[in-house]
Symmetry: C2
């Protein structure tokens, strides 16, 4: 019979050979973590290679994603649809085996990782989702949701601040089914870590309320025993500190940074073969290895047992079972569209002057009774950002039925956790903070976009309208900056009606969405039916829709729409009767996805007299106003003072917008 070490060596061989063939990659971590992976994946992990989407599988997160070949190797060996050819194509364009694991790209990859710390933090979100879904759906003897979240993480993950944010919270939330195996190899890219990372990691995690175990990471049996001990502690998340050697088996590179991020080289690869006693050719795995690694039968049996459990569940609780399937598939209740239009009509009729953060909370209150999958939260600004809908209770160790998480002042941790919850399935997670602090969480938002996750960010206090808190709290570059993230939709509604549509779009779409909402009250605009219908198209003619050839167009968003409307109205009344169209553009990304005819109808290509108005950095708007237009925007940081004074101070006034329109029109006329 093959030893655990021999089985682990199959991972080592595949990993170093693939890196060697690609002439690129990270061999050290797979060589170092192979024994840990063998211990977890062959025996303990509940998974079915034939169905990577089985809802009750254990989740596995490779937080140190540069060790991707470790994951691809175990996926291949245990029987996932990752072939030997796929491994040979490691890091090649279009292959199933990219440099870092990518969600939606490779069967069995649960999450895109690579940016350190975030996998671990997302796993905290997964564990929250598991416990919440279990509380909602499990019935005595019918535990259809009952799985663990496992993480491999390295020194880099634990140095990153996001690991502090999420792991501190994980301890407080007592996520007992979260089990982290820490690859403590003592090496990071700059070398031996002692000079920059000598904290007592065990004491730190104990301070967070975790169970901490220590083990030789190269002894599969001990690793397995530690995982069992971790599972036995149902109250605390567990950190298993696995002492390992990076580049294990490479006589000249073991325990050095040289093993980390470059192929070992042909000679050292041969040395590894000799050291490990691995006589096989590159990419050759003898059948007995496959036989020992194959998890298909066991996985199929496990899923079959679960399917039977679910059938019993279905019989006993048909409605719950139906709802569970809907939730897991991400389907939405049929009445959602109707509810949205009812709310929009109601808001149109009420015409209340509301801050859009308040309008957002109203919308949330309207949607939430129909969407038990909503899982809200905020980074210690619940009252300010308006994320806590009516009747919701706080999620916590004593209340897994709570659907609101108070993340504390942890924007980045929240962002990664939102991603993890969305990845887990069963929930539509959203989180709120001030727009300015999206800076802190930016790469989590980016990863949500890269993974196409339905994660909703409620980002309020969206401009100098913040007022007295001053430039540290006033977003300038954040709205245009977020628009630059591919696949992210940024909504900046101008009133209560647009806010309903924005929330509806976020809930029904399939991408992350930012809702940029105002601190201050905004007037509700008057709209024709056509204009009302246009909101969902991202931009529409708010004023002047009877005029197919306006002399100028003002494009505005959010709090500046009313300024545009008033400027256009005054211009029409003045002696030269300028005919100015106002386009409200709450979401440029949605508008840009419309057909050309619609886009040209809203923004006629031949009308070059264009002025954009937005209390944010001006540059981005050149995309719409070009070299002939102008943007009334911010050209520097904000300032501390009452918001009502800041807007005119920074050039946001009816007069300034009118002047810009006149300048643009006259300049073009002079040409």
């Amino acid at each position: 019979m093959l030893s655990r070490r021999e089985l682990a060596n199959a991972i080592r061989a595949l990993s170093m050979d693939a890196v060697e063939k690609a002439k690129s990659g990270h061999p050290g971590a797979p060589l170092g973590m192979a024994d840990m992976a063998e211990a977890l994946w062959r025996g303990i992990l509940k998974h079915n290679p034939a169905d990577p989407h089985w809802p009750d599988r254990d989740r596995f997160v490779l937080s140190n994603g540069h060790a991707s070949m470790l994951l691809y190797s175990v996926l291949h060996l245990t029987g996932y649809a990752v072939s030997m050819d796929d491994l040979k194509n490691f890091r090649q364009l279009g292959s199933k085996t990219p440099g870092h694991p990518e969600y939606l790209h490779t069967p069995g990859v649960e999450i895109t990782t690579g940016p350190l710390g975030q996998g671990l933090a997302a796993a905290v979100g997964m564990a929250v989702a598991e416990s919440a879904l279990a509380a909602e759906f499990n019935r005595p003897g019918l535990e259809i949701v009952d799985h663990y979240t496992y993480v491999f993480a390295g020194d880099g993950c634990l140095m990153e601040g996001v690991s502090h944010e999420a792991c501190s919270l994980a301890g407080t939330l007592r996520l007992g089914k979260l089990i982290v195996l820490y690859d403590a190899n003592g090496i990071s890219i700059d070398g031996r870590i002692g000079r920059w990372f000598n904290e007592d990691v065990a004491a730190r995690f104990e301070a967070y309320g975790w169970q901490v175990l220590r083990v030789d990471g190269h002894d599969g049996a001990l690793v397995e025993a530690a995982v069992m001990a971790a599972k036995a502690d149902e109250e605390r998340p567990s950190l298993i500190i696995c002492r390992t050697h990076i580049g294990f088996g490479a006589p000249n590179k073991v325990d050095t940074a040289a093993a980390h991020g470059a192929p070992l080289g042909a000679n050292e690869v041969e040395n590894v073969r000799e050291t490990l006693g691995w006589p096989y050719a590159p990419f050759e795995i003898p059948p007995e290895y496959y036989a020992a690694w194959d998890c298909r039968e066991k996985g199929a049996a496990a899923q079959k047992a679960w399917n039977e459990l679910f059938l019993r569940y279905q019989e006993a609780h048909p409605d719950l079972a139906r709802e569970f399937c809907r939730r897991i598939s991400g389907g939405l209740p049929g009445e959602l569209d109707e509810i949205a239009s009812r709310m929009a009509v109601k808001a149109s009729v009420a015409r209340e002057n509301l801050a859009t953060r308040q309008a957002g909370l109203n919308a949330l209150n309207g949607f939430s009774p129909y969407l038990p999958e909503l899982f809200g939260g905020a980074a210690d600004l619940s009252g300010s950002v308006g994320t806590r809908f009516v009747n919701v209770t706080d999620y916590g160790p004593e209340n897994h039925m709570g659907r609101y998480l108070r993340y504390g002042v942890r924007e980045f941790g929240m962002g990664a956790m939102l991603n993890g919850m969305a990845l887990h399935g069963g929930f539509i997670p959203y989180g709120g903070t001030f727009l300015i602090f999206s800076d802190y969480a930016l790469n989590a938002i980016r990863l949500a976009a890269l993974m196409q996750l339905k994660v909703i960010w409620v980002l309020t206090h969206d401009s100098i309208g913040v007022g007295e808190d001053g430039p540290t709290h006033q977003p300038v570059e954040q709205i245009p900056g977020l628009r630059l993230i591919p696949g992210l939709k940024v909504w900046r509604p101008c009133d209560s009606v647009e806010t309903v549509v924005a929330w509806h779009s976020a809930l029904t779409g399939n991408s992350p969405v930012v809702l940029a909402l105002s601190r201050q009250s905004l007037p509700c605009q008057l709209r024709t039916a056509e204009a009302n219908a246009g909101i969902a198209r991202g931009a529409y003619i708010l004023r002047g829709n009877n005029d197919p050839e306006p002399q100028a167009v003002i494009i505005a968003t959010g709090s500046e729409v009313d300024l545009a409307v008033r400027a256009a109205a005054e211009l029409a009344e003045e002696p030269d009767c300028l005919r100015v169209r106002v386009v409200s553009m709450p979401c440029a990304e949605v508008f840009e996805a419309q057909d050309e005819q619609y886009r040209n109808q809203v923004l006629p290509p031949n009308v070059r007299a264009r002025v954009a108005v937005e209390a944010a950095g001006a540059d981005w708007w050149a995309k719409y106003v070009g070299l002939d237009g102008e943007t009334v925007g911010m050209h520097g940081f904000g300032a501390s003072g009452p918001a009502a004074q800041l807007f005119p101070y920074f050039g946001f006034s009816v007069e300034a917008v009118k002047a810009a329109v006149r300048r643009v029109v006259h300049r073009l006329a002079d040409k």
Copy 2:
């Protein structure tokens, strides 16, 4: 004699009255921390209100910057140029007392704070700078650099991940002169923190290698004793956990989140007056309070003693004294410009194909012998990003003369620490990581821009040129995103010559700079003398400078400049002989600061046939190409594969650039 409590109550009264008058602000924290402030500022802190720039003053950082009125109150009371009228103008536009403390805005404010955690992290950088400057300049008996860095921080600061990054490193670096007073009031905006922040903070900081002390934060004598104990431990940074009550003295709001972020209201303000026994009118401070608080005499004496010490130092070490003065004033060695031009000429002649990250290291090696103030570092990517110049040694607890800091995988912590080092003075700090991970540190870069700090970011692997590491590691939106930050200069040089000029500009400017550098080799361009001179102006005509009216202009940066040059050359050779100018624009911000004549000469306003080429998100370039031009840029995330394949795959080829130029020229001709 007035008691400590009575003296602290002066802070409380001023703070609540100013918040009340402004109808905006955060009274709770000043009320809670007043006793801590009294203990530190009256007795212990080494400072001279008449000279907030005295180099050997203790540094004070209010990391929970929303408590700004606490700071303004003590500045006023101890004798800084912050008048009672300034306090009355709290949070008003143009006042000296903005909502959060702003560096360069208020005498005695050392750093802009408000975004939580970053003040604390910047203080770690200040303490590094102090120890490094002391090691370099102090001589036995002539310790001209010998001061402490004090921080007030709140629960929010400690929840933020950046506090983990910086404080873990501070422990490792054994920054014994860093003393943090933690305002442990148990309340954050969402309420009692136990449900989201119940970690054992003391154990956590002990795990980092800190001394941890606990004290009643309302007992000034105990706080003072704890600070003395903190000073006595020269090996470890100290965290003094001060148990306090937010809103101390407000009978109805004490210990609640209601005290945090809104005025107390007239009634509660009256209640505070009664509870504290403070019978005075709003903004009335009796003379005996001023007398007890006044630190001017003591401060002047302290500085006088230091001046005398410095005179003795000057006599004993005239060269060192001169150098110290230069370093503190931020003056540069006179020969810097000459060295830069010599290096640029050398690079022009050598015409080496180099990755600009390598060219950057070469430049650094050239400059570093003349700039002892350079303080380098990287977030665990020293070899990859090329930040470790020749002959430098690592800064560490045993080597305060080292001028290179290995920050570990802590981008945000590094960013805040760079800010702290720049604020401290005496050094030009720079730090390196991959461009993509600027996401992690973004708000620190923003604060550097807001504070106009000379901090240099070496951000390499600046495009899909990253190759196999894939989309998680390939910047797309980062370059345009950084350009959106007001006051930040983003250089993206195309070869070794431009890289020298970029470094020179960064070293001689007075703002933060990003150097976006390539992973891959780039050919060195041929330049006329005029073109060479143009680099420093941010953009210049690289090809086609004899043609004042080109038919088209290609604007390119970094790795895409060569593509533009080759496309233009081929277009000129083809039957229709298109006359195409190539503009290299390594730094748009510097170009935009040039006079209009130069800008129009480089980019003639009437030439609308413009194509921008940059392997980054395309939208930003509309600023230059307008509605008639095109951008050859990225329109989504990258992919994992060899870089040489990725460029053509994503449309970066000579053919594609030529086609774009032709399309633009023909479209305009058809008009």
